[in-house]
């Protein structure tokens, strides 16, 4: 058993509405693929409205790499293709059949397959898109080899799904998924788990991986933080990463020959009446999950993903390609009279200028879960305060300097300051506590995208 890797800086924001450990399998009839879930992908459609698809039928491919296919999670009919600004494709909506049909990808034994054959199978089935790479968080180019692969075996973000719970019974499939990864890369395969989880049996039994145990507050579950402790990314390096739940989907493909994009998704947040887990497929519509299950207030925000990094969706929107969480919080479009000087006994703040800030000095288990809403609590200002971001960023990075380098689009400086080691999500907590109300994640994302385009990747 390896040593525990401890992270000190960061913070666990304890929000009310954690999912209780109960599962149901609702009937979902509408699914969607959202090209915007994938960074750097320009979709080229392979279907049109009214076409029939099976589970695993390609729906669109990437203009950047024609081999990367995106496949339907279910069999059914292409109901609509929703476009946004400049006619960019936002959603390809599929209405599901009551009896599912599957494309057959064969059940050839993994042991006898070559790397190229494995990749071919993953690409064709669309499951290649479950793997992502650092830097940039894009879907990797199958022709390249990563220096290592990270399997993230826990999530430390607010209200995150409990991985011990969602992985129950999936051990065999995950092991097969690991075996697939071993075919892809000769590098090390890291499985990162939380140190204090006692019943992560499914994961502890896995073979062929190096198990790393992490301890500390969020963002300890972020891939960047973990890589920085295991094998820091240098310029030109590439690391692949995948969520352990998605590994089971890949494993299943090699057993059954079918694409079954099953994912256990937690419905969480202060505005949810009965929080719980749902057995659904990637891209499922959330309307049957949230209907009659959220507070009466009409003014709610639905988020696919967690409240720090997730994407805003409609109440009849769809679960994102990489998300296993749907969070519901109140919109905060209200004025606060003299709110900047009022004591604010109920407001969330890490700063000790609010009484509640002192409560946050307690360890997270002694803190009461809080309610949050989407109010900005102030106007945008110049970047003035220093030394604040460092408190919640457990990376050997100078955040203020990197943010400014991204703002001025100085690529050399961004590289020197370690842009390859980070992703926008690592700055989510910095963004939350920022006094200047700067949208830091967007700034970092823009910086990364600028470099990616410059490098022609």
């Amino acid at each position: 058993m390896s040593d525990i890797i401890k992270i000190k800086r960061g913070f666990d924001i304890k929000i009310s509405g954690k999912a209780i450990e109960k599962v149901s399998s609702p009937l979902v009839t509408s699914y969607a693929l959202k090209p915007t879930d994938h960074i750097g992908i320009t979709p080229k459609l392979m279907v049109k409205e009214g076409d029939r698809v099976k589970a695993g039928t390609p729906v669109f491919y990437s203009k950047q790499n024609e081999k990367i296919l995106f496949t339907s999670p279910v069999s059914g009919t292409i109901e609509s293709i929703n476009r946004g600004e400049k006619r960019a494709i936002e959603e390809i909506v599929i209405s599901a059949d009551s009896v599912q049909e599957y494309e057959d990808f064969g059940t050839e034994s993994l042991a006898s397959m070559q790397r190229e054959e494995v990749i071919e199978k993953l690409l064709k089935s669309g499951l290649w898109t479950l793997i992502r790479q650092r830097p940039y968080s894009t879907i990797p180019n199958p022709e390249l080899q990563p220096k290592c692969i990270i399997i993230s075996g826990f999530d430390s973000s607010p209200l995150a799904a409990n991985y011990n719970f969602i992985l129950k019974g999936k051990g065999a499939q995950i092991q097969l998924g690991v075996d697939v990864l071993k075919k892809l890369s000769s590098g090390k395969i890291h499985l990162n788990i939380r140190a204090n989880e006692t019943n992560a049996d499914e994961l502890l039994k896995l073979e062929g991986v190096q198990i790393n145990r992490f301890e500390g507050p969020h963002p300890v579950g972020n891939v960047s933080v973990q890589i920085s402790k295991l094998d820091p990314i240098n310029k030109g390096d590439m690391v692949w990463y995948i969520d352990v739940q998605d590994l089971a989907i890949i494993g299943n493909l090699f057993v059954s020959g079918k694409v079954e994009k099953d994912r256990m998704v937690a419905l969480v947040g202060p505005e949810v009446k009965n929080t719980q887990y749902f057995n659904i497929k990637i891209g499922a519509c959330i309307s049957s999950l949230v209907m009659d299950n959220v507070s009466k207030d009409n003014n709610l925000r639905y988020i696919s993903g967690n409240v720090l990094t997730g994407k805003r969706i409609k109440e009849n929107g769809y679960v994102g390609a990489y998300d296993n969480l749907v969070s519901v919080i109140k919109e905060g479009d209200y004025y606060q009279f003299l709110g900047w000087i009022a004591p604010g006994f109920k407001k969330f703040s890490l700063s000790r200028t609010f009484p509640t800030g002192f409560l946050n000095l307690l360890p997270s288990k002694f803190r009461k879960p809080i309610k949050i809403d989407t109010n900005m609590h102030g106007g945008k200002r110049a970047l003035v305060l220093t030394g604040e971001y460092e408190k919640v960023l457990p990376l050997d990075i100078y955040p203020m300097q990197l943010i400014k380098a991204c703002i001025i689009e100085d690529i050399d400086l961004m590289e020197q300051l370690g842009i390859y080691e980070v992703d926008a999500e690592d700055f989510a907590l910095c963004e939350v506590i920022d006094v200047s109300k700067t949208d830091i994640q967007q700034i970092i994302r823009n910086g990364l995208e600028l470099i990616r385009k410059e490098m022609g990747e």
Binding site: N234, F337, S349, S351, R352, F354, R381, T386, I433
Partner: protein, 388 residues
């Protein structure tokens, strides 16, 4: 407060695009957001935000300044009446002292705010920015570092200079590299030395017969120790700049800044360490009486304490990296004591020490960040990368 909200909502369209006064938008926004924290919601990134904002942060600094302001107000009156009647005890004629102090300080505060805020609003309007709250603090700091008898037109001139040349020409709040309040003081110090130095300016309308020398001036003249006792200096019962005399009042403010986390403990602590290092070094090697005073006398004389707590900690002009803050702070302490003791032209070294280190702060940060960059490049080279 609904009627205020209703009124604001009613007049708001006038200040928006297509309204009657679109050129007053920043001004309206400043007043509207003063009354109400806006209802803006998150549109990108994290879906919720910390309740703290710039207004609250800056308000905390102003609250921290209140003890120094109150003590300074009273002390103006006391020093004035004390010069007329050297037998006067500190609490004798309490209300007279206070009233006299208020009459003296209020116009200075008003002039500083009116001049500074007008310029800030003007620039915000011109740049189509929101008005930044930074000047709310600067506008309070400027009166506190002035001598009580400073002519009001000089305050106005210095404030305008500090805001325009010190801040706005570099792009406004967050972009300046010199502490605006200290710049105002430095401007007067060099432009109008007669109102900013000598024995006659530190007590309002001083009686001619009374000496009025500050402890710093006494030391400069070769005294063994200041005529004011250490504890009187600690309490602040001595002539000097309005808000700078009382270490107790300033330490109350410091405690508030540290508890709320608004002020940098690294900078405050390191300035004191720097002062101690230089003070002790002089004790070892110095020859004249000034070099032999205990180092903690430096803390309570002149503007050392005020500078350490309120001036050096300005996040914009200080070093921005945590390691850099230590170097920055220690050097301020060292330089302040060095200038005081060694340079006969400037009795008070704190102002110049902080301004000097303001100038060097980006350089300090450069080397701290460069070490991080080098580490990264080295790691990359070990792995076989080429030269950057």
């Amino acid at each position: 407060m609904k009627f205020v909200r209703d009124f604001l909502d009613k007049i708001k369209p006038n200040f928006e695009k297509g309204g009657k006064f679109p050129w007053l938008h920043s001004t309206f926004d400043a007043f509207e957001t003063f009354a109400f924290v806006p209802k803006t919601t998150t549109s990108s990134g994290a879906h919720f935000r910390d309740a703290i904002d710039m207004k609250r942060t800056m308000t905390m600094v102003i609250l921290a300044l209140i003890p120094a302001l109150l003590f300074g107000t009273y002390n103006i009156g006391y020093q004035h009446f004390h010069s007329l009647n050297p037998e006067l005890a500190f609490f004798d004629g309490f209300w007279d002292n206070l009233l006299y102090g208020i009459i003296k300080i209020l116009p200075i505060v008003v002039v500083s705010y009116v001049v500074g805020l007008s310029i800030e609003f003007g620039f915000a309007q011109w740049r189509k920015h929101e008005v930044n709250e930074g000047f709310l603090v600067t506008g309070m700091l400027i009166p506190l570092v002035m001598p009580p008898d400073v002519p009001l037109w000089q305050v106005a001139l210095a404030t305008a200079f500090a805001v325009v040349i010190g801040k706005e020409v570099f792009g406004g709040t967050g972009m300046n590299f010199l502490n605006p309040a200290l710049l105002a003081r430095a401007f007067l110090f060099f432009a109008f030395p007669s109102s900013m130095s000598g024995d006659n300016v530190w007590i309002a309308q001083k009686a001619d017969a009374f000496s009025g020398a500050t402890p710093l001036a006494e030391m400069m003249m070769g005294a063994e120790l200041p005529s004011t006792s250490f504890w009187d200096m600690f309490l602040g019962i001595m002539p000097g700049s309005i808000g700078e005399t009382s270490a107790v009042a300033i330490l109350l403010g410091a405690a508030f800044l540290l508890i709320t986390g608004v002020g940098s403990w690294r900078i405050m602590l390191s300035v004191f360490i720097g002062g101690a290092i230089m003070g002790l070094t002089f004790n070892l090697f110095g020859s004249n009486p000034y070099t032999q005073i205990p180092f903690y006398y430096h803390y309570v004389m002149g503007g050392f304490m005020f500078g350490a707590v309120f001036m050096a900690t300005d996040p914009v002009t200080a070093a921005q990296t945590n390691k850099g803050k230590w170097i920055y702070g220690i050097l301020i302490g060292v330089m302040a004591v060095l200038i005081r003791v060694v340079n006969p032209a400037y009795p008070e070294g704190m102002m110049l020490a902080i301004l000097l280190l303001n100038v060097f702060a980006p350089l300090i940060d450069y080397y701290i960040v460069d070490a991080n960059i080098r580490k990264r490049v080295k790691r990359w080279k070990i792995k076989g990368g080429q030269n950057v």
